[in-house]
């Protein structure tokens, strides 16, 4: 039995990805396949990452964020992050994501921003 790690929510042209509690290599395995499928089937101009439930992230999280960022850049789309707590913010900074993907406090702000 495979537990679902990412939850996806489409809000118009915005895809909100709710990140798991522990964002590591193990939990990142299905993300690429799942988002690729969603991006093919829907017209998405922005991906918003919800970190509000995430308590741990390592460089595996940086890999998937960087790839989604590049994917959206290529199609002229945007990415945003919200709800990241201290450990996540430090990992984002060390991973160089801090400068690439804007961070917001709330989902509404991230979608609007």
């Amino acid at each position: 039995m495979e537990e679902q790690t990412f939850r996806y929510e489409a809000k118009g042209q915005v895809l909100v990805i709710h990140m798991p509690k522990e964002l590591d290599h193990h939990n990142c395995r299905n993300l690429r396949y799942e988002t690729d499928l969603l991006l093919e089937e829907n017209y998405i101009t922005k991906i918003v990452f919800d970190f509000s439930k995430t308590v741990f992230m390592d460089s595996s999280g940086i890999g998937i964020l960087l790839n989604r960022y590049k994917q959206m850049e290529r199609s002229g789309g945007k990415t945003a992050i919200y709800g990241a707590r201290a450990q996540i913010l430090r990992v984002l900074a060390v991973g160089g994501i801090g400068k690439l993907v804007p961070q917001y406090d709330s989902k509404e702000a991230a979608i609007a921003g």
């Binding site: 522990e22 590591d24 290599h25 193990h26 990142c28 395995r29 993300l31 690429r32 741990f56 992230m57 390592d58 460089s59 595996s60 940086i62 890999g63 998937i64 960087l66 790839n67 201290a86 450990q87 430090r90 990992v91 060390v94 991973g95």
Partner: protein
């Protein structure tokens, strides 16, 4: 304080990555670390164990050995595998360098270990395995 050591042997399965970092965090909690120090060590352990699983054993069966030592204020974490080994350690440690073909890996594993620990040493022999030794002073 006396020297205390924790030894763990894990099967090379990605679901053990979380167990490994949580076990090390639990053990180091007796040093009375800050939350930030615990997070730093958890991140570094996660990187080293993930490397062992992905690159050391490349998805095949194998054992990851973890040895954690507390001596006064110094924490030492050794993560070892008996996998493929790294032909060029210097290259492997360059930021953004990865041999991963899926394109989903950032290549920042060693950079993360270096960013979150005080000292990182890598020993590796192709066909023999890899040993990563990381040190951090707790409660400076």
């Amino acid at each position: 304080m006396e020297k205390e050591t924790l030894r763990i042997e894990l099967e090379s399965l990605s679901k053990n990555e979380e167990f490994a970092r949580v076990a090390v965090a639990m053990f180091m909690s007796r040093m009375d670390p800050t939350i930030e120090e615990i997070d730093d060590v958890k991140t570094a352990v996660s990187e080293a164990v993930t490397n062992g699983i992905i690159h050391g054993y490349q998805g095949k069966e194998g054992i990851i050995y973890i040895e954690v030592t507390i001596e006064d204020r110094e924490l030492t974490v050794v993560v070892k595998d008996s996998g493929t080994g790294i032909p060029d350690i210097k290259k492997a440690m360059e930021p953004m360098y990865t041999t991963d073909a899926t394109g989903e890996r950032s290549g920042m594993g060693f950079s993360f270990m270096e960013a979150f620990m005080d000292q990182v040493e890598v020993w590796s022999v192709p066909g023999v395995g890899t040993r990563v030794t990381m040190k951090k002073q707790i409660g400076r």
